[in-house]
């Protein structure tokens, strides 16, 4: 391009000079996408409408309904008593409840530990495998853990963790880490780590595959330049690989964070929140409150809090996704 200015950008255009308010409004409307012709817009809306209706029904309505529920005192156990509007009482109770905060803490620990271990392991494995995992068959095997129903994963590990005949405690005993006939899922101080281990087990391949895809799509050229310039391996990793991979890393971590925050199925099967709420993550706690204790309103309140947390992460994710899509 150089010095030739290609397209002149500016607020004032030739036709605004003397065009007045009308033109100004027209420009504003264009900014909002009214520039496309009427027939086009009608067609576009017609294609979009069914999806928007369905999404409003299944996506927006529940959230609003939850909002309403959180302001009432519905409890199915005493359905006969009816319900009434109680304002922010649920919220107050919740924020004061040590059980809620405990559950929140457990969820955060689960999320942070699981995702960071998955990331470190995943990056390490991906770096070794980059360019070497071409086989369709092997890649499918790599995908198995994440496409298996979480319930089945939970089931498998429930069996593997069994205190008597489970292979994992047996192996740990052999190495001498675990003593006696201890069942990992039955011990309050081990259960959370056992559950985290399952998540790591299941989702590390996800990290590997995504980072692998990212690594394999990196341009070769900067690496060659570094070779010619005689740069060290560490320099190459920190100055080229990591920065180039950053968007992919961000996407993988954000997706995993959201997912780990919502974790339910595995916990349900493995420990159901126990022993003595050692693995009582938010989804589990909410589920028990709503469907075992029938305190629907309290459940709705917690789920709303979860929704807000996810929404905040989502805004971030959406930005990264959009940027990355435009680049690719």
């Amino acid at each position: 391009m150089g010095k030739s200015d290609v397209v002149e950008k500016g607020r004032t255009s030739a036709y605004t000079e003397g065009g007045g308010v009308k033109v100004w409004i027209k420009e504003k409307l264009e900014d909002f996408g009214f520039a496309i012709s009427k027939t086009q817009r009608r067609f576009a809306l017609a294609l979009l409408l069914p999806a928007v209706v369905v999404l409003a029904l299944v996506g927006v309505f529940p959230a609003i309904y939850c909002g309403w529920l959180s302001l009432t005192n519905i409890n199915l156990a005493r359905a006969a008593a009816g319900f009434k509007y109680i304002g922010f009482e649920n919220w107050e109770n919740l924020l004061r409840s040590p059980y809620f905060w405990n559950s929140f803490k457990i969820t955060l620990i689960f999320m942070i530990v699981a995702v960071s271990v998955e990331f470190v392991l995943g990056l390490g494995i991906a770096l070794v495998l980059a360019g070497r995992l071409r086989s369709k068959f092997l890649r499918t095997i790599m995908l198995i853990p994440m496409i298996m129903a979480p319930v089945v994963v939970g089931l498998c590990f429930y069996y593997l963790y069994d205190g008597f005949f489970g292979i994992i405690p047996w192996m740990l005993r052999k190495i001498g880490i675990l003593g006696g006939n201890i069942a990992p899922l039955g011990e309050a101080n081990i259960a959370l780590w056992a559950v985290v281990a399952v998540d790591i087990w299941q989702w590390t391949p996800f990290m590997v595959l995504i980072l692998l895809a990212g690594l394999e799509s990196l341009p070769v050229a900067p690496y060659e330049a570094a070779q010619v310039d005689n740069a060290s391996k560490w320099q190459v990793f920190t100055k080229i690989t990591l920065p180039l991979l950053r968007p992919v890393i961000l996407i993988a971590i954000l997706l995993r964070v959201i997912d780990a925050f919502k974790v339910f199925d595995k916990i349900y099967v493995l420990t159901a929140g126990g022993p003595s709420s050692a693995t009582d993550v938010l989804s589990m706690w909410t589920y028990r409150k709503s469907f075992l204790r029938f305190n629907i309103s309290l459940g709705a309140t917690v789920s709303l809090i979860m929704l807000y947390v996810v929404l905040i992460i989502c805004v971030f994710l959406s930005t990264v996704l959009t940027l990355e899509r435009k680049r690719g």
Binding site: M1, G2, P219, A221, P222, E224, A225, A226, Q227, V228, D229, N230, A231, K239, I240, P243, L244
Partner: protein
Amino acid sequence: MALLKLENVWKRYGEVEAVKNVNLECEQGEFLSLLGPSGCGKTSTLRMIAGLEKITSGNIYIKGQLVNDLQPGKRNIAMAFENYALYPTLVVYENIAFPLRAKKLSEKEIKKRVLWVAELLEIEDILYSKPKGLSGGQQQRISLARALVKDADIHLMDEPISHLDADMRRRMRRELKRLHQTTGMTVVYVTHDQLEAMSMADRIAVMNNGVIHQIGTPTEIFNHPKDEFVAGFIGSPPINFLESRLRVEKGRYAIEVEKFLYFIPDRLGKKVEKASDLLGGRVRLGVRPGDIALSLKKVDNALSGKVILVEPVGESVVYHIRLGEKEIIAEVSVEEDINVSEGEGIRIIFNPDRLYFFHPETGKSLHT
């Protein structure tokens, strides 16, 4: 011994032979250009010299030392990449300084050099931006700067100015040539653009399908092409090829082209005769558009054709002329233009000193 020497170098990718038995020498201070269409093996050759590609067989020597197994970082070379190869996190200044830092030069020396090369390539104003937001042309100049800033034995350049706009490309061509002539650095320069190779190089190696067709100075390559490929690749508008037959008519040499008889100088005829005897006189005639004169008047020893298209391209006029069954292109400079319009008949005269004859099957030149 030459500074750089390639000896029977081959490169195979599985079944594909990218470079076939290349022999090449490059002297200290020489500007050598590898010229050829895309996929001809020129980039593979360059990358083997850099050490970024392993040699399938053959030897490469730099300063007399066999470098087949030497790491690229140890060869004391600098390279400019076609696709820029910039370090994404480093600002432009640091990108350019990177090879100097690897060599542990003093900060003052680094600064001096970076500023010098930045001025040369007109990128002073972007020294502290990251490469990501810059235009392709700017990124390419940074890549070139990084190659030039280093004191290397050989500067390798892979299409280093191909992504610049026409004006900047011309400027860079000029500056690179001047730089080479004033500093005496050794350059191996890969390009598909004959203009770049012709205008800058001391010698050109024309490649196609992994084989070097001819090595020579730009003038040699232009005036004495060794085969049809070289003749066809160099020159714009491209050379015209015509099937013809060499005959001796009334004691003079002549060629029969599209049923016309055209007399050629004896000296040339003698040379070609020997080679063409085996072919029953069949030869392929090559004549560059610039070596064709047109006349509206009747002239001795001329072919007649009909103008089908006139393209005024500024300083010259290009005529598409029907000659028998064939169509040829003639380029006449504006001063010599005769203002013929489309549909008119015309006389065609070839410059007798600049006719090329090729073997109709092998394409080899019959007289160089």
